[in-house]
Amino acid sequence: MTDINMDRRGLLGAGILGAASLGLGTGASAKNPAPLAPHMSKADFAGAMKAFRAVVGNEWVFGDEDSVAPYTKVYVPDPTHRHVPVGAVCPETVEQVQEIVRIANTYKQPLWTVSTGKNMGYGMTAPATPGQVVLDLKRMNRILEVDADLGTCLLEPGVTYQQLKDYLVENNIPLWIDVPTVGPIASPVGNTLDRGVGYTPYGEHFMFQCGMEVVLADGQVMRTGMGSVKGSTAWQAFKWGYGPYIDGLFTQSNLGVVTKMGLWLMPKPPVYKPFMVRHAEMADVPRIIEAMRPLRVSNLVANCNLMMSASYQLAMFKRRNEIVPDGMPLDEASIKKAAKANGLGMWNTYFALYGTEQTVAGVEPIIRASLTASGGEVLTAAEMGDNPWFHHHSTLMEGGLNLDEIGLLRWRGAGGGLAWFAPVAAARGVEAERQTALAKEIVEKHGFDYTAAYAIGWRDLHHIIALLFDKSDAEQEKKADACYRELVTRFGAQGWASYRTGVNSMDLVAQQYGAVNREFNAKIKHALDPNGILAPGKSGII
């Protein structure tokens, strides 16, 4: 904790400093409000907000600076304050969503849909383009069905992972959930719709999604898969339905408002055994990937393998100035020293075995042999004990809840700045070697640190780079913005495009997926949503 922070805390505790004076940081003010959508007049906006109030009640529509404030907080760099919503509307039922969509068409008021709105490091509830009203579905948080035999559930968008987990525990249902790192405040529906990931064998969330209900831009309600067949019992059991498979159209997109989603839940395995493999050198990463790929492709290791760099791990629980003095580069020797002191290597690879006593005992020696041959130390709870990093990842790999990784946001100064950059490659060691070199060159040029991880999903390799900056420092925010754009552009030039991106860079990334693909998306968009009321700019689709 810096001295400045200490002082401010002391003052806050004594009630001397009004919290309001700490500042909003959105750039909007009563004198200079966030701009409306370019085609809209003040009267249109006022008309839409009035009509929304008639649907959900005054208390669930937010349109002034103070009440919209919770919707404006972002971690991503936004030096020109482009990503600021103008309002929010919070329905409780599907019928209300339909009404809101009809009103939005009347006034051409764009709506930015969120489920729980904790898309942290990608924009939280902030929209991709100016002038949008957030359609906040958090109040729709009913757990509609849980089938303990089939291992399925049907959820509304506002159900958090915490709510689902509590329900399973309270009702003694032996099914697991699979969380992204930030489970307690995020949602299965929101995360899956952005094609997020987690750390049990059900970690590729969209693969384990089954059936949706969607409010279309014209206000109709559509069910996907078996959901539209009268009397079907298989809505949550059979993914594909009949004809073109369309669920994917509603992920990372702006073609509908998802109001229900089916998901598969993993039966709690009799044995769960987490591992960490410690490698001593930065240069070891290609070797780890080469050793891991066959284990993962064959599904001998059934969950995603997360390879965490020492700097990423340290940034979770330490401040930068505990490792190197402020203003100094984060050099490898200092990282190594700090890593060692905390029981970490330069790369720390996490995976787990799930099964019965026999299957785990049968697989473990095979895995140990190939990872040891890669130069790693294969460690378990027996060696790692209550090491906080091991504890954190062990929790995640059994779908446990925590928010420890938010500590990343405090790495530098007052913190609060994070943009995820996540380019995709095939799971081959050489790709990682080249990517690490390129990423380090770019982030260091802009004065930032290489705090990154690699993940082998199945056959793919995600490079997950946390661009951490001090958002209270306007200059640093500008630099982070420039750095992020350079990362996207230069990685893209090598064929490494992002699997997902923040509101600050959606158009930039969309360009990398080619003109034909963009046009295809645009055609569908214009056919389904001619007034462009659903989340314009999401994934670069207008």
Partner: protein, 110 residues
């Protein structure tokens, strides 16, 4: 519009919920009910505060008004929480509870 009896019944239910947080579980098909400060702290704030992420906030006499403001606006690394996440009446009770709270053994600040 709820009549007087329903309003009283609701108040009664809220009081019972406050007295017995253990049975406040969510039922199938029903939206989450109003939660006690204790529950919200355990299931949201307490994952960061007193653990590995945020400063200790219990037992410091933090003014309720400041707590409310910070929850709604976020602060540096802390995300903001919207009225759909922590309901207005939940936040009132939570902020007052934080202000009056005692320090907890075993918590550590960051």
């Amino acid at each position: 519009m709820p009549d007087k009896t329903t309003a009283l019944a609701i108040a009664g239910v809220t009081l019972m919920a406050l007295a017995a947080p253990a049975i406040a579980g969510q039922k199938l098909g029903e939206a989450q009910a109003i939660r006690t400060p204790e529950t919200i702290y355990a299931k949201t704030c307490g994952y960061c505060h007193g653990r590995n992420v945020g400063p200790i906030i219990l037992g410091r006499g933090l003014p309720a008004e400041s707590v409310k403001y910070i929850v709604r606006h976020g602060q540096n690394g802390m995300p903001a929480f919207r009225p759909t996440e922590v309901k207005p009446e939940e936040l009132e009770a939570l902020a007052a509870w934080v202000e009056k709270s005692e320090a907890r053994k075993g918590e550590h600040g960051q």
